[in-house]
Protein backbone atom coordinates (compact mmCIF):
# COMPACT_ATOMS: atom_id res chain seq x y z
CA UNK A 1 0.00 0.00 0.00
CA UNK A 2 1.46 3.27 -1.06
CA UNK A 3 1.43 6.19 1.30
CA UNK A 4 -0.44 9.39 0.60
CA UNK A 5 2.67 11.26 -0.51
CA UNK A 6 3.39 8.75 -3.26
CA UNK A 7 -0.24 8.83 -4.30
CA UNK A 8 -0.24 12.59 -4.40
CA UNK A 9 2.96 12.61 -6.46
CA UNK A 10 1.59 10.03 -8.87
CA UNK A 11 -1.67 11.89 -9.22
CA UNK A 12 0.00 15.22 -9.92
CA UNK A 13 2.92 14.04 -12.04
CA UNK A 14 1.25 15.04 -15.29
CA UNK A 15 -0.32 18.21 -13.97
CA UNK A 16 1.80 21.07 -15.35
CA UNK A 17 0.87 23.42 -12.50
CA UNK A 18 2.05 20.95 -9.88
CA UNK A 19 5.19 20.07 -11.80
CA UNK A 20 6.16 23.67 -12.41
CA UNK A 21 5.41 24.64 -8.83
CA UNK A 22 7.71 21.88 -7.64
CA UNK A 23 10.49 23.05 -9.95
CA UNK A 24 10.01 26.67 -8.83
CA UNK A 25 10.30 25.55 -5.21
CA UNK A 26 13.38 23.54 -5.99
CA UNK A 27 14.98 26.59 -7.57
CA UNK A 28 14.26 28.65 -4.46
CA UNK A 29 15.76 25.93 -2.32
CA UNK A 30 18.88 25.83 -4.51
CA UNK A 31 19.18 29.62 -4.19
CA UNK A 32 18.93 29.43 -0.41
CA UNK A 33 21.52 26.67 -0.22
CA UNK A 34 23.81 28.53 -2.62
CA UNK A 35 23.63 31.69 -0.51
CA UNK A 36 24.41 29.63 2.57
CA UNK A 37 27.40 27.88 1.03
CA UNK A 38 28.79 31.00 -0.64
CA UNK A 39 28.58 32.88 2.66
CA UNK A 40 30.32 30.04 4.44
CA UNK A 41 33.08 29.91 1.82
CA UNK A 42 33.64 33.68 2.00
CA UNK A 43 33.74 33.57 5.78
CA UNK A 44 36.42 30.90 5.52
CA UNK A 45 38.46 33.15 3.27
CA UNK A 46 37.69 31.67 -0.14
CA UNK A 47 38.14 33.97 -3.12
CA UNK A 48 35.32 34.56 -5.63
CA UNK A 49 37.46 32.71 -8.17
CA UNK A 50 37.67 29.61 -5.97
CA UNK A 51 33.93 29.65 -5.29
CA UNK A 52 33.13 30.08 -8.97
CA UNK A 53 35.35 27.18 -9.93
CA UNK A 54 33.60 24.72 -7.62
CA UNK A 55 30.15 26.00 -8.62
CA UNK A 56 31.12 25.61 -12.27
CA UNK A 57 30.28 29.18 -13.24
CA UNK A 58 32.29 32.28 -14.09
CA UNK A 59 33.81 34.46 -11.40
CA UNK A 60 31.80 37.39 -12.78
CA UNK A 61 28.54 35.46 -12.41
CA UNK A 62 29.22 34.58 -8.78
CA UNK A 63 30.37 38.07 -7.96
CA UNK A 64 27.35 39.66 -9.61
CA UNK A 65 24.94 37.38 -7.78
CA UNK A 66 26.46 37.44 -4.31
CA UNK A 67 28.82 40.37 -3.78
CA UNK A 68 26.02 42.94 -3.69
CA UNK A 69 23.89 40.81 -1.42
CA UNK A 70 26.76 40.29 1.01
CA UNK A 71 27.71 43.95 0.90
CA UNK A 72 24.14 45.00 1.73
CA UNK A 73 24.00 42.50 4.56
CA UNK A 74 27.23 44.02 5.89
CA UNK A 75 29.20 40.81 5.41
CA UNK A 76 31.76 41.83 2.78
Amino acid sequence: MRDTTTLAAAASSRDPAAGLRAVASLRLLVEQLTDLQVDNAREQGWTWQQIAQVLGVSRQAVHKKHAGRRFRAGRD
Binding site: T5, A9, A18, S25, L29, E31, D35, L36, R72
Partner: protein, 177 residues
Protein backbone atom coordinates in the same frame (compact mmCIF):
# COMPACT_ATOMS: atom_id res chain seq x y z
CA UNK B 1 14.24 59.82 -15.75
CA UNK B 2 12.72 60.02 -12.25
CA UNK B 3 12.93 63.81 -12.35
CA UNK B 4 10.03 63.76 -14.81
CA UNK B 5 7.91 61.68 -12.47
CA UNK B 6 5.02 63.29 -10.63
CA UNK B 7 5.14 63.02 -6.84
CA UNK B 8 2.51 60.32 -7.00
CA UNK B 9 4.46 58.31 -9.56
CA UNK B 10 7.55 58.58 -7.35
CA UNK B 11 5.50 57.43 -4.39
CA UNK B 12 4.23 54.50 -6.43
CA UNK B 13 7.83 53.43 -7.05
CA UNK B 14 8.57 53.78 -3.33
CA UNK B 15 5.50 51.65 -2.58
CA UNK B 16 6.71 49.09 -5.13
CA UNK B 17 9.94 48.76 -3.18
CA UNK B 18 8.04 48.37 0.09
CA UNK B 19 5.84 45.69 -1.45
CA UNK B 20 8.88 43.75 -2.63
CA UNK B 21 10.45 43.99 0.79
CA UNK B 22 7.26 42.95 2.53
CA UNK B 23 7.04 39.84 0.37
CA UNK B 24 10.75 39.16 0.99
CA UNK B 25 11.44 39.39 -2.72
CA UNK B 26 14.94 40.24 -3.84
CA UNK B 27 14.04 42.42 -6.76
CA UNK B 28 11.37 44.91 -7.73
CA UNK B 29 9.50 43.37 -10.64
CA UNK B 30 6.65 44.57 -12.81
CA UNK B 31 4.21 42.95 -10.37
CA UNK B 32 5.57 45.10 -7.54
CA UNK B 33 5.21 48.19 -9.72
CA UNK B 34 1.60 47.23 -10.26
CA UNK B 35 1.15 46.94 -6.49
CA UNK B 36 2.90 50.29 -6.09
CA UNK B 37 0.49 51.93 -8.51
CA UNK B 38 -2.45 50.44 -6.60
CA UNK B 39 -1.03 51.56 -3.26
CA UNK B 40 -0.86 55.17 -4.42
CA UNK B 41 -4.62 55.30 -4.03
CA UNK B 42 -5.29 58.82 -5.19
CA UNK B 43 -3.23 58.53 -8.34
CA UNK B 44 -4.98 58.26 -11.68
CA UNK B 45 -3.47 54.80 -12.19
CA UNK B 46 -4.99 53.43 -8.98
CA UNK B 47 -8.32 55.12 -9.66
CA UNK B 48 -8.53 53.59 -13.11
CA UNK B 49 -7.64 50.16 -11.74
CA UNK B 50 -10.11 50.50 -8.87
CA UNK B 51 -12.76 51.54 -11.38
CA UNK B 52 -12.10 48.31 -13.24
CA UNK B 53 -12.60 46.36 -10.03
CA UNK B 54 -8.98 45.58 -9.25
CA UNK B 55 -8.40 45.13 -5.53
CA UNK B 56 -5.03 45.73 -3.94
CA UNK B 57 -5.36 42.96 -1.37
CA UNK B 58 -6.29 40.38 -3.98
CA UNK B 59 -3.36 41.39 -6.21
CA UNK B 60 -0.98 41.35 -3.25
CA UNK B 61 -2.13 37.86 -2.30
CA UNK B 62 -1.80 36.66 -5.89
CA UNK B 63 1.73 38.07 -6.17
CA UNK B 64 2.73 36.40 -2.90
CA UNK B 65 1.24 33.12 -4.02
CA UNK B 66 2.67 33.07 -7.51
CA UNK B 67 6.17 34.17 -6.73
CA UNK B 68 6.79 32.72 -3.31
CA UNK B 69 9.83 33.85 -1.37
CA UNK B 70 10.32 30.45 0.22
CA UNK B 71 10.26 26.90 -1.13
CA UNK B 72 7.04 24.99 -0.62
CA UNK B 73 7.50 21.76 1.37
CA UNK B 74 4.46 20.16 -0.22
CA UNK B 75 5.67 20.87 -3.75
CA UNK B 76 9.16 19.60 -2.99
CA UNK B 77 7.75 16.39 -1.58
CA UNK B 78 6.39 15.53 -5.03
CA UNK B 79 10.03 15.51 -6.18
CA UNK B 80 11.06 13.30 -3.30
CA UNK B 81 12.75 16.10 -1.40
CA UNK B 82 12.11 16.46 2.30
CA UNK B 83 12.45 20.18 3.01
CA UNK B 84 12.42 19.61 6.77
CA UNK B 85 15.34 17.24 6.47
CA UNK B 86 17.26 19.70 4.29
CA UNK B 87 16.58 22.43 6.85
CA UNK B 88 17.58 20.17 9.74
CA UNK B 89 20.92 19.39 8.12
CA UNK B 90 21.61 23.01 7.22
CA UNK B 91 20.92 24.04 10.80
CA UNK B 92 23.08 21.23 12.14
CA UNK B 93 26.09 22.77 10.36
CA UNK B 94 25.22 26.45 10.32
CA UNK B 95 22.88 27.08 13.22
CA UNK B 96 19.18 27.91 13.61
CA UNK B 97 17.50 29.67 10.70
CA UNK B 98 20.45 28.85 8.43
CA UNK B 99 18.31 28.45 5.32
CA UNK B 100 16.26 31.57 5.85
CA UNK B 101 18.62 34.11 7.34
CA UNK B 102 20.45 34.93 4.10
CA UNK B 103 17.25 35.94 2.44
CA UNK B 104 14.86 38.71 3.29
CA UNK B 105 17.56 40.49 5.26
CA UNK B 106 17.19 43.25 2.78
CA UNK B 107 17.29 46.80 3.92
CA UNK B 108 17.78 49.86 1.79
CA UNK B 109 17.94 49.59 -1.94
CA UNK B 110 16.29 46.70 -3.79
CA UNK B 111 17.24 46.45 -7.47
CA UNK B 112 14.71 46.51 -10.31
CA UNK B 113 14.33 43.50 -12.59
CA UNK B 114 15.12 44.22 -16.27
CA UNK B 115 11.38 43.84 -16.84
CA UNK B 116 10.55 46.58 -14.35
CA UNK B 117 13.24 48.85 -15.80
CA UNK B 118 11.74 48.41 -19.23
CA UNK B 119 8.28 49.22 -17.87
CA UNK B 120 9.63 52.48 -16.39
CA UNK B 121 11.23 53.43 -19.70
CA UNK B 122 8.01 52.62 -21.51
CA UNK B 123 6.12 54.85 -19.05
CA UNK B 124 8.31 57.72 -20.22
CA UNK B 125 7.54 56.84 -23.82
CA UNK B 126 3.83 56.71 -23.04
CA UNK B 127 3.85 60.18 -21.50
CA UNK B 128 5.69 61.54 -24.57
CA UNK B 129 3.26 59.83 -26.91
CA UNK B 130 0.32 61.38 -25.09
CA UNK B 131 2.12 64.75 -25.06
CA UNK B 132 2.16 64.93 -21.28
CA UNK B 133 5.02 66.77 -19.65
CA UNK B 134 5.21 64.60 -16.59
CA UNK B 135 5.15 60.87 -15.97
CA UNK B 136 2.19 60.01 -13.76
CA UNK B 137 0.92 56.74 -12.30
CA UNK B 138 -1.33 56.32 -15.35
CA UNK B 139 1.75 56.31 -17.57
CA UNK B 140 3.38 53.75 -15.30
CA UNK B 141 0.31 51.62 -15.80
CA UNK B 142 0.41 52.07 -19.57
CA UNK B 143 4.12 51.23 -19.47
CA UNK B 144 3.27 47.95 -17.73
CA UNK B 145 0.68 47.17 -20.37
CA UNK B 146 3.11 47.84 -23.24
CA UNK B 147 5.22 44.75 -22.82
CA UNK B 148 4.37 41.23 -21.81
CA UNK B 149 5.63 40.84 -18.29
CA UNK B 150 5.29 37.46 -16.72
CA UNK B 151 3.08 38.03 -13.70
CA UNK B 152 1.85 41.62 -13.96
CA UNK B 153 0.44 41.02 -17.44
CA UNK B 154 -1.43 37.93 -16.30
CA UNK B 155 -2.91 39.77 -13.33
CA UNK B 156 -3.97 42.72 -15.45
CA UNK B 157 -5.42 40.45 -18.10
CA UNK B 158 -7.39 38.48 -15.52
CA UNK B 159 -8.86 41.74 -14.24
CA UNK B 160 -9.78 42.74 -17.79
CA UNK B 161 -7.42 45.71 -17.85
CA UNK B 162 -6.06 46.61 -21.29
CA UNK B 163 -4.53 49.67 -22.93
CA UNK B 164 -7.69 50.84 -24.64
CA UNK B 165 -9.78 50.71 -21.49
CA UNK B 166 -7.11 52.47 -19.46
CA UNK B 167 -6.69 55.26 -21.98
CA UNK B 168 -10.44 55.76 -22.26
CA UNK B 169 -10.75 56.01 -18.50
CA UNK B 170 -7.70 58.23 -18.13
CA UNK B 171 -9.43 60.91 -20.14
CA UNK B 172 -12.39 60.91 -17.79
CA UNK B 173 -10.08 61.23 -14.76
CA UNK B 174 -9.03 64.81 -14.29
CA UNK B 175 -5.56 65.88 -13.41
CA UNK B 176 -2.36 63.93 -13.54
CA UNK B 177 -0.61 61.71 -11.08
Amino acid sequence: MFERFTNRARQAVVHAQEEARRLHHREIGAEHLLLGILAEQHGVGAQVLAGLGMQTEAVRAAVGRRSPAAPDAEALRTLGIDLEEVRRRAEESFGPGALERRRGARRGHIPFTPEAKTALELALRESLRLRNRRIGTEHLLLGLLRRDTRLATALLREAGVDRKTVEARMCSQQGSG
